[in-house]
């Protein structure tokens, strides 16, 4: 069951990279970044998952050796990663808007004033 998550997450990461490498539209490049990011988030969550575990919210007195919960650390990491992903998207879209204003195109093949 969890195996499917791993396969799906690496599929998403690969799909994201594929999008970045092959698509020539700036917006699609940004979409590619986001897809890869979702893949990573899925991977993180899956790593921390224990089948049958509860949410890792306990007070100190409630905690006993019998309590069985999912690993909280990857969840914290995922939250951070989601925030960062949102920032990447926001910032890159801002750059895309400015690029479109300056270059009059969103085709990556024409945005190459710096080369060689």
């Amino acid at each position: 069951m969890i195996m499917l998550n791993y396969i799906a997450s690496f599929f998403l990461i690969t799909l994201g990279l594929y999008t970045i490498v092959t698509k020539h539209n700036l917006v699609k490049t940004v979409i590619g970044l986001s897809i890869a990011d979702y893949g990573v988030n899925l991977l993180l969550i899956s790593i921390g998952f224990n089948p049958g575990g509860t949410a890792p919210i306990f007070t100190w007195s409630e905690l006993n050796p019998a309590s069985f919960f999912v690993d909280p650390i990857p969840q914290a990491l995922t939250l951070t990663s989601i925030v960062i992903g949102a920032c990447v998207t926001a910032m890159s879209l801002a750059l895309v808007i400015k690029l479109e204003e300056q270059y009059g195109t969103t085709d990556t093949r024409e945005i190459r004033r710096l080369h060689g």
Binding site: L17, L44, L77, I84, V88, S92, K98
Partner: protein, 638 residues
């Protein structure tokens, strides 16, 4: 009272050094509307950070103490690191020292340099965030924390690259950097999460304890991902075009940060990864990987630099070329090599910072960095010229400046490695390093000729010298360049050798955090002796090999295209050293001193020019190909 004394204990200084930078960033957002308040806040926070780091030099660097600092006092429970830790050994402190000095000088320079820009408040906020990000990265003892810091610094660097968004290519450079940088960051995050899945810890010391004995496919893949991720931050081949774009577009003070500080953070990550987390550097193949990528970066970037027409873009390629030296030396896995590599890393921050600031001074006064439009500025900007020349001499490795000392050590280290391992390939590395140094010198002859000497274009008649604040910042770097060049023994004894020793003290690194280091091989006797390197016979041998290779190249190039198409009139401008005096109507500009050389190599340059297409898809493809190759490599080798 005791709590105050406790808070002033140097154990807390690492976190203070990080915090003051971030605190400064936030305070400037709130109170930075006024220019004086903003400058004072920025200066205060960079000075405080520098002071905290300097105060740590004695206990950490000289007394060899490793500071283990658990945030919020959350020490490991049940043998597992739960809290976030800072761990400062001599290696971390070495890089933190570079960061704080570069941030300080660049900040002082910015005050005059950024005067005429809008949004100065945002500039300082991002600038301090960038500094804080790198500082946090090098002082952190936690892999995920390193990822966060990598993201902060990448973000700040991208935003600052696009800061002058009306400048040519600024947005474009920022976008490319963001895309490829994000691929790198994603690699780091995937690698981190895979390591967590295997080892159930994010603490660097504990990872270093657990991983080396338990290598499996997942950790090998994680190694490749982390390696490529930190590679994008160091801009080593194949990520060098991003550095060139970003440097060219960013303000000069930010170029100093990107080349002097950001690339170092990548190198730091690679050292931590290979020497500490996986402890794989004793494998010959792993040394090959680092030395190969380093040599490739060295050579490719210096030739790319020769073909540039933009002052800052040219400097950017040189910057990565010098990072190639650092990576090569570090990859040798000898005490001398690591010491030489760190020494060169330090010198790189100093002389590259100086050169970028000089380029910024030229841009500040003339409004252009196009080599074809500049010239003769030595009469108008004498101080800048002298300071630039100090930087140029340093990077070209001319004694007594610091570049000479560290490059000499790198030649020695590669040669010594060749002697010790009996591997003739390392001799080739020595030769590549020598050739690269020569090409560096050639290219700086070209720059100084076309910017500071030669004829003064009429448009630049009214150029003035830059204000004192900018000259002062450059003078700090220049002074450090000269001092570290004049006293190489003091530098190696007190700064680089403790750091290099820390690289080989993995057991202490693990033990300092309270983990069991018995599984790790204890520190081997570290010797910085230059074995056999001073023997004249060895140098005669190197000379013979170099002569032989030059002869082979010369003989091979006899059949090049120029001599084949001898039906056409042989034009003197195709000659190797063409001064431009023979023909009146020659199209070769003064900025193109080595036109003939480039012409002879035009096949190579054509290929390189086509490869550096400037299309972001291509650069992303390079990243993916690099990742695939390193992945394959680590699966086979580890």
């Amino acid at each position: 009272m005791s709590s105050v004394m406790n808070a002033l204990s140097y154990q807390h200084f690492p976190i203070y050094a990080i915090m003051v930078l971030f605190l400064g960033a936030f305070l400037i957002v709130v109170f930075g509307g006024n220019r004086t308040a903003r400058n004072i806040l920025a200066l205060l926070s960079i000075t405080a950070s520098l002071a905290f780091i300097l105060a740590l030099v004695k206990p950490v660097m000289w007394d060899g103490e490793i500071i283990a600092y658990w945030m919020g006092g959350r020490v490991p429970a049940g043998g597992y690191a739960i809290g976030i830790a800072l761990e400062v050994d001599a290696l971390s402190l070495f890089f933190a020292l570079l960061v704080s000095v570069a941030v300080f000088v660049s900040g002082v320079y910015s005050i005059q340099y950024m005067r005429h820009d809008d949004n100065e408040r945002e500039y300082y906020t991002l600038f301090l965030m960038l500094g804080g990000g790198v500082m946090g990265l090098v002082l952190s003892g936690d892999l995920f924390n390193m990822f966060i810091m990598v993201e902060i610094l990448t973000f700040a660097a991208v935003a600052l690259t696009a800061f002058r968004n009306t400048a040519k290519g600024a947005l474009e450079a920022a976008f490319k950097y963001l895309v490829v940088g994000s691929i790198g960051s994603t690699c780091i995050l995937v690698g981190t999460s895979m390591l967590y899945a295997q080892a159930h810890t994010l603490n660097l010391a504990q990872l270093a304890q657990v991983i080396p004995g338990n290598l499996n496919t997942a950790t090998k893949v994680a190694f490749a991902l982390l390696f490529v991720g930190f590679g994008t931050k160091a801009f080593i081949v194949p990520f060098h075009p991003l550095a060139a774009d970003a440097h060219g577009a960013a303000p000069a003070s930010i170029s100093v940060m990107i080349s002097g500080v950001l690339t170092k953070s990548g190198i730091y990550g690679i050292i931590r990864l290979t020497y500490f987390l996986f402890q794989t550097m004793n494998l010959g193949t792993m040394q090959f990987l680092l030395v190969f990528i380093g040599s490739l970066s060295m050579f490719v970037c210096v030739t790319m630099a020769l073909a540039q027409h933009d002052f800052k873009r040219l400097l950017a390629f040189h910057s990565i070329s010098q990072i190639g030296y650092v990576l090569t030396a570090v990859g040798l896995c000898t005490a001398l090599g690591v010491s030489a590599g760190l020494y060169h890393a330090m010198n790189h921050t100093l002389f590259k910072g100086l050169l970028f600031l000089a380029a910024g001074a030229v841009l500040h006064e003339t409004g252009t960095t196009d080599l074809g439009k500049l010239g003769g500025l030595s009469k108008k900007m004498p101080y800048t010229t002298v300071l630039f020349l100090i930087g140029a001499f340093s990077i070209s490795g001319i004694p007594p400046f610091n570049g000479f000392a560290s490059k000499w050590m790198i030649y020695q280290a590669t040669y010594q490695k060749a002697v010790e391992s009996g591997n003739i390939g390392f001799l080739l590395v020595t030769i590549i390093a020598l050739v690269t140094s020569v090409l560096t010198l050639a290219s700086f002859v070209k720059v100084s000729q076309s910017v500071f000497f030669g004829q003064l274009p009429r448009e630049l008649e009214n150029v003035k010298e830059v204000p004192f604040g900018m000259r002062f910042a450059m003078a700090i770097f220049a002074l450090l360049c000269v001092l570290t060049g004049l006293f190489p023994n003091l530098v190696t004894t007190y700064i680089t050798e403790p750091a290099a020793r820390a690289v080989f003290s993995v057991a202490q690194y693990i033990g300092a955090m309270g983990f069991d280091a018995s599984g790790v091989a204890a520190e081997t006797a570290v010797s910085f002796a230059h074995v056999g390197v001073w023997e004249p016979i060895s140098w005669l041998l190197i000379l013979c090999i170099a002569l032989l290779s030059v002869t082979i190249v010369a003989v091979a190039s006899k059949y090049d295209r120029v001599s084949q198409c001898s039906g056409e009139a042989v034009d003197s401008k195709y000659e190797l050293f063409y001064g431009g005096e023979a023909q009146e109507f020659s199209q070769v500009g003064g900025g193109d001193l080595f036109w003939g050389f480039k012409h002879n190599w035009r096949g190579y340059f054509d290929v390189m020019h086509r490869l550096h297409s400037g299309v972001v898809n291509d650069y992303a493809l390079w990243a993916v190909v690099d990742l695939a190759l390193v992945l394959l490599f680590s699966l086979i080798v580890l």
